[in-house]
Amino acid sequence: MEASSREIRATGLSRTFKGGIDAVRGIDLSVNEGEVFGFLGPNGAGKSTTVRMLCTLLPPTSGEATVAGATIVSEAADVRRRIGVALQEIGLDPVQTGRELLELQCGLYGITGAEGRKRTDELLELVGLTEAADRRTKTYSGGMKRRLDLASALVHRPSVLFLDEPTTGLDPASRLTVWEEVRAINAGGTTVFLTTQYLEEADELCNRLAIIDAGTIVAGGTPEKLKGEIGNDVVSVALDGADAAETERAIGALPGLERVVAEGERLHLYVEDGASSIAEIVRKLDAAKTQVGAISVARPSLDDVFLEATGRRLEGARPEESAEQEEAA
């Protein structure tokens, strides 16, 4: 059935904040049952605002959405029963222990008594916090907090799980752990809606993704399809002071050249066959006596997809830099 195979469907979803900030500008989304759907975008793109709307925490200014078979505004209570949510800001009560927090969470979802204790033990095991279970969450490291938060979103075995930047601020090892957990949760049949600033993460985890920039979806599809649309290979020319337009003119028409994108001190040429193009490019630049720096060839990444869609790189998306960014905003 149509309704059961689409776990999330949004049409024209928009949110304008007081003061006229259009955080989300009429987006359409469709997430299939059982998939890991990536929602990729830079700081301030509108990822969290979208998640908050889909989770019933924030009413949309316009547009509508159904999540797990219920509409987010008129059937919010049904949505809440069926979803699990780990928001961007890890919401933990510092005075409780990890175990107490999970048991309370179980209780709020109607899982009480021995059943709640059993589920708590299972989840502590799943996220590797059995040892630390009886310590107050205040004493947990960032990664432990993230994992506890993830566990608390799972108490009632939700059919849809929302994860808002689940790995931001984590070290590489902890990121891998969270990835494994997301895969395991998804393997158990849970549909996952995951936001991220990391292209690598989207590439690694997601069956399909949408790229959001300034409140608008600028590209969507499977990672392969998105990369495929860009072209087969990307030849990057370091300009080293050479003029971009002039260099582009010098290279001129190239067999299999699909598009050229100038980005700061580099020129990216999306071509069918990188290896043979390099030779051709070098020959043409020599002929035109244009001095450039290193020339390299690579397979296109989602980064290139983002660049192509927005004209910008996903700046600051390196794991170690982005931990505190939303605080400053």
Partner: protein, 252 residues
């Protein structure tokens, strides 16, 4: 219902585990009790008519009780939770939003009873004799705690409306005029006309008068019923507004 109990238990646990949030709130009332008595017991010896044969401590005890129970603790705990994001986790759970508030108020009742008990014990140590007896002492403690619960509604309201820790913290200052524009040092008829008018307009005055009647005069139905009515009215208004605030939180 279960959710209210669970959330209430958590809030009580928070009180127990944060003694540094509760102990200072007890320091002020005990300090006032000791200092005021020390300073004015010569001026108002136990032959003073309005003391009915007791020391001045008996007259001050209700004021200290008010101080002990009317705190910004709950509002602060809530705004901290809003700030750190745990509040969102509760909002996204399939529970009635009002349970979050009712659970917290339940913890306020527990804390109010415990704090009032300590203050009454201190009063007894200062030689106060509760004219209405043991039952009177219990009613005294319960009424003080109920006042604390009503007052907590105000902190919760500020927390939900401002979502700002500083604002919620300073909202406590409002309590000073409410507590001092009252017959807190002397009865109504000993106040200057302006002060008397203000005090008679202040509902908290009647709570103090009611509690005081239990200590000094025994069972005075009129004073007690007015105090109960005032506490009930404050609860309806302040708790009512905070329940509405959480229902409409981020709803537009």
């Amino acid at each position: 219902m279960t959710e209210v109990l669970l959330l209430g238990r958590r809030a009580v646990r928070e009180v127990i585990r944060y003694p540094e949030a509760t102990i200072p709130t007890l320091f002020i009332p005990l300090f006032f009790l000791a200092v005021n008595i020390g300073q004015v017991s010569e001026t108002f010896p136990d032959t003073t008519p309005f003391l009915n044969g007791q020391g001045y401590a008996a007259f001050q005890l209700p004021v200290s009780l008010m101080f002990a129970v009317a705190t910004a603790t709950t509002g602060l705990a809530l705004v901290t939770e809003i700030d750190n994001g745990y509040f969102d986790k509760l909002l996204v759970a399939p529970i009635k939003r009002t349970s979050i508030i009712i659970g917290r108020l339940g913890a306020d009742l527990v804390r109010g009873i415990a704090a009032s008990f300590v203050v009454v014990l201190a009063g007894l140590a200062f030689g106060v004799h509760i004219e209405a007896g043991i039952i009177g002492a219990i009613v005294l403690i319960l009424l003080a705690a109920a006042f604390g619960v009503a007052y907590a509604g105000f902190g919760i309201l500020v927390a939900l409306k401002t979502r700002n820790v500083q604002a919620t913290n300073t909202s406590f200052l409002l309590f000073f005029p409410l507590l001092f524009l009252t017959p807190n040092f002397v009865p109504f008829d000993r106040l200057t006309p302006v002060m008397e008018t203000l005090a008679r307009l202040n509902p908290v005055s009647y709570v103090i008068v009611g509690l005081r009647s239990l200590i000094i005069d025994g069972w005075v139905a009129k004073d007690l019923l007015i105090a109960i009515a005032v506490i009930a009215a404050m609860s309806v208004v302040l708790i009512g507004l905070s329940l509405r605030a959480i229902k409409t939180y981020d709803r537009n």
